[in-house]
Amino acid sequence: MNAVHVLLYFIMSLAAFSVCGMMAMWVDRKVTARLQFRVGPPWYQNFADFAKLAGKETLIPGKASIFMFVFAPVIAVTAAAMCGAVLLLVFRTGFGFPGDVILLLYLLTVPSLAIILGGSSSGNVLASVGISREMKLLLGYELPFACALIIPAVRSGATTSLVEILRFQQANGITLGSISGVIGFLIAVFALQGKIGLVPFDLAEAEGELAGGAFIEYSGILLGLFKLAKAILLIVGPLFVVTLYFGGINFSSVTGVIAGILKYLLILVLFVLVKNTNPRLRIDQALKFYWGWMTLFGIIGILLAVKGL
């Protein structure tokens, strides 16, 4: 496994996850539309969006710190794709190392971080409000999310290696099959909802309040990259959860792949349902939700997991 390999792998997974992510986004939009008696966008919609954004002029707010402004989206995509690459590596080759769960946890925050840095460099007050929310939200969901990661890690014999966790699940049944697993899974789903920025936790973008929040100043390809990052997150996040709780995706057989896709879709549909039957929360409510109930459950889950339940 040398660096060139990894680079190639990275590029490959970037491509793959972009495509899949956009399709996932389409599924999200389409199902949403159908829930609302609408037709919804055609399947190629997100690709068209991206292509269009790529072809558009890019504007930079005059007061921005240009470097950060331009590179924030790049970082976001890179980090998101890197998560994908890690996961893909784990699925396909069983390559991993102790701590990749933690690495992923960190990598998953990087896109949010990039959004925050980008938004903050734009010098727009609405963006500032947006990023302060994004930040607080990040604070909020990170704790339960961490709990949700620790649960399978503890259950699989105190390992922070995805491969180990997968192996453990293959041997002893998926994590979801236990009480702590169920708790952890739910927490993970809610936390991801926040991470990906879906209603009820879309406060940072909050179209209705902040005109796009952190993205307000972004245009053209930079915006496209952010959207791409979001799309990749939309697939990487749930996949991560699938790995931790659902036994991952088995790439060696067709049924394995299909089962994996179904697992993924299950989570996605859960997202969409929650998204469409709830209003956006206020930031303090969101924080309370995460730091209150979710963390409580998280700690209960951890304790149960330590007890082996």
């Binding site: 950060m68 890197m82 990749d100 727009n124 500032s128 990023i131 930040m135 620790i150 951890i302």
Partner: protein, 608 residues
């Protein structure tokens, strides 16, 4: 072991300090170079010792050298920075600085506990004057607080030193001494309830000094803690302290970071972060496993790197804008691109974002916690993860306020990254952040494992793999940067869009003080904050309330006597004291009183 080589750093430092006094009339320029030479000499001495003696040393000695190297390197940077940072010419400052450096080196390099204690006190006094240096009301209060608390800490330390010296095998005493040591070193290190001098002293001190205080001085506390730990409980760790240490670690970590979150004085904020990072180190130590200790040591190094970097960067900001308030910065990224870059790196490092060094050490600590198992450790892991995010959050605020957004303050020309002697340390430190993140294998193998001698080495390969992703990220980023530069030029610039309205910068500056207001309002956290703001968490203030009588007694009776004796005593200090017109103030006296009180108390205990 060649003692001369061993104490080279200390000796050189003291010599430089002395030379500064000697050449007090020699002019600014000369002493600039003198300082630099001294700093380099100290660092070189350390490196030399490290290099020459590496193979023959015991693990404890390696650890000493490790700390010494760290101290002298960071000091070198600070000194270099400091020479171009402080515009006015003051030999007292310089000599104090070197006294301080020497004392720190002495603390970590001394062979005996008593020597350690002596250096410890010298360090305290030197740093006290350095904190006091700006001689403002704020500085006085902070320095006073600092010296009182350190003095109290010394008492505890002395108590346990003497205890260890006198009474050996009684397990009860051992625990008592350990506890006393914990308080003694904990005050220096700034673990949570004992931290309160730190957020006051750091901002008050001149920035290069803060950078040393926070970067290395508090590490001497950690050093002492680790050493004592080894000395006292060598073969078996499991004597119940772990849980307490973990709890202390968690509280320190979260307490520090939560308080940091709402600060808007940049140095204060950094000071609180020092506390929270100490929490991580504590967690690592608490685990007591090899991986935990490696993590803790690694984090000590890392923290020294990025925290001093942060302070140096903050110094640039303060210079440029003349203010420590975050709210007064804004939009500086264009004016101070270098500072912006290094601060970003440091901020990401301290938050543990890969591929920077913070990630590696934090990861080691997490790993330690997880593999340690047990409810407390795992929950602590969750807390540690949260701590990282909170750190990130608070640094986002710093970055947002100072570099992003719109310009608010007028920028004075003179502070603008003018001198390479200021820039170089920052760049080097930033490079350190990256390198220590990218070559964790080397670091652990070369430095940390020897320091921990008997513990089973880890599988380094795995750590190396983790950094692969860091490399990858770097590569991708560089590629994109190369391609991106051209393409960036095509962008059109426009005014920010705020609903079509046009505003001035101040009106819409949603700065950091507004960022985390919400968090303050949430349930129990609210109580925490209000407790903090009303001083209920400040052990110093509490003690001040409880012990006014004691204080007064000491002040009135014993103090006077010792005061006059002392006043004739020291030469260099006297010089400094004159300079700073501190004699009348009686602060020093009070400190000495605490010292003596400690000794008297100790005698009392021993006699029984």
């Amino acid at each position: 072991m060649d003692v001369r080589v061993w104490f080279l750093p200390v000796a050189v430092s003291f010599a430089t300090a002395f030379l500064h006094v000697v050449f007090c009339k020699a002019g600014r320029h000369f002493r600039k170079w003198l300082s630099l030479a001294g700093g380099i000499a100290v660092a070189a001495g350390c490196f030399y010792s490290m290099y020459v003696n590496y193979m023959y040393l015991s693990s404890g000695q390696v650890m000493s050298l490790l700390f010494a190297t760290l101290i002298s390197t960071i000091s070198l940077f600070s000194v270099s920075y400091s020479q171009w940072y402080n515009p006015e010419d003051n030999f007292v400052y310089d000599s104090l600085l070197f006294l301080f450096i020497g004392a720190m080196n002495g603390v970590v390099l001394s062979h005996s506990l008593i020597a350690l204690y002596v250096y410890w006190e010298i360090m305290a006094v030197a740093s006290f004057f350095l904190v006091l240096f700006t001689d403002t009301e704020e500085a006085r209060r902070a320095a006073f607080k600092y010296i009182i608390m350190t003095g109290a800490g010394s008492v505890f330390l002395l108590f346990s030193i003497l205890g260890i010296w006198l009474i050996e095998e009684n397990i009860f005493w051992k625990h008592l001494f350990f506890f006393s040591m914990l308080i003694g070193t904990g005050i220096k290190a700034g673990i949570f309830p004992l931290h309160t001098w730190l957020p006051d002293a750091h901002p008050a001190a001149p920035t290069p000094v803060s950078s040393m205080l926070s970067g290395v001085m508090i590490k001497t506390g950690i050093y002492a803690m680790i050493r004592f730990y080894f000395v006292l409980f060598k073969p078996s760790w499991s004597i119940g302290w772990e849980t307490i240490l973990i709890l202390i670690g968690v509280i320190t970590l979260l307490g520090g970071v939560f308080l940091a979150l709402v600060q808007h004085d940049i140095k204060r904020l950094l000071a609180y972060h020092s506390i929270s990072q100490i929490g991580y180190i504590m967690l690592g130590i608490a685990c007591g496993t090899s991986i935990g200790l490696v993590g803790a040591l690694y984090h000590v190094i890392n923290h020294a790197i990025f925290k001093s970097l942060l302070f140096l960067g903050a110094g640039v900001l303060i210079k440029a804008t003349g203010s420590r308030e975050l709210g007064n910065y804004g939009g500086l990224a264009r004016k101070l691109p270098l500072t912006f870059g290094v601060m970003t790196v440091a901020a990401l490092s301290i938050s543990g974002v890969p591929p920077f060094n913070g990630f590696v050490s934090k990861w080691l600590i997490y790993q330690a916690l997880l593999s340690k198992g047990g409810e407390i450790a795992v929950v602590a892991l969750a807390a540690a993860l949260l701590g990282s995010v909170l750190t990130l959050a608070s640094f986002i605020k710093v970055l947002n306020d100072s570099f992003m957004g719109v310009k608010k303050a007028e920028i004075s020309k003179q502070g603008l990254e003018s001198s390479p002697f200021m820039n170089m340390p920052m760049v080097l430190l930033a490079a350190g952040c990256l390198l220590f993140g990218l070559f964790p294998g080397v670091v652990t193998e070369r430095f940390l494992f020897p320091a921990l001698g008997e513990y089973v080495p880890l599988n380094i390969e795995l750590i190396k793999t983790a950094s692969l992703y860091g490399w990858l990220a770097l590569a991708v980023f560089c590629l994109l940067f190369i391609f991106g530069r051209n393409w960036m030029r095509k962008f059109r610039k426009t005014e920010p869009f705020v609903g079509g309205e046009i505003f001035t910068a101040e009106e819409t500056a949603f700065d950091g003080s507004h960022f985390y207001g919400t968090i303050k309002e949430i349930g129990p956290i609210k109580r925490f904050y209000s407790a903090e703001s009303t001083g209920k968490l400040d052990i110093y203030a509490i003690a001040g309330k409880i012990l006014p009588g004691v204080n007064r007694v000491f002040h009135n009776a014993a103090v006077r006597a010792v005061d006059s004796v002392y006043a004739r005593g020291s030469v260099i200090l006297n010089l400094a004291v004159k300079k700073l017109k501190l004699l009348q103030n009686g602060l020093l006296a009070r400190y000495i009183v605490w010292l003596f009180a400690g000794i008297i108390f100790l005698m009392e205990v021993i006699r029984r």
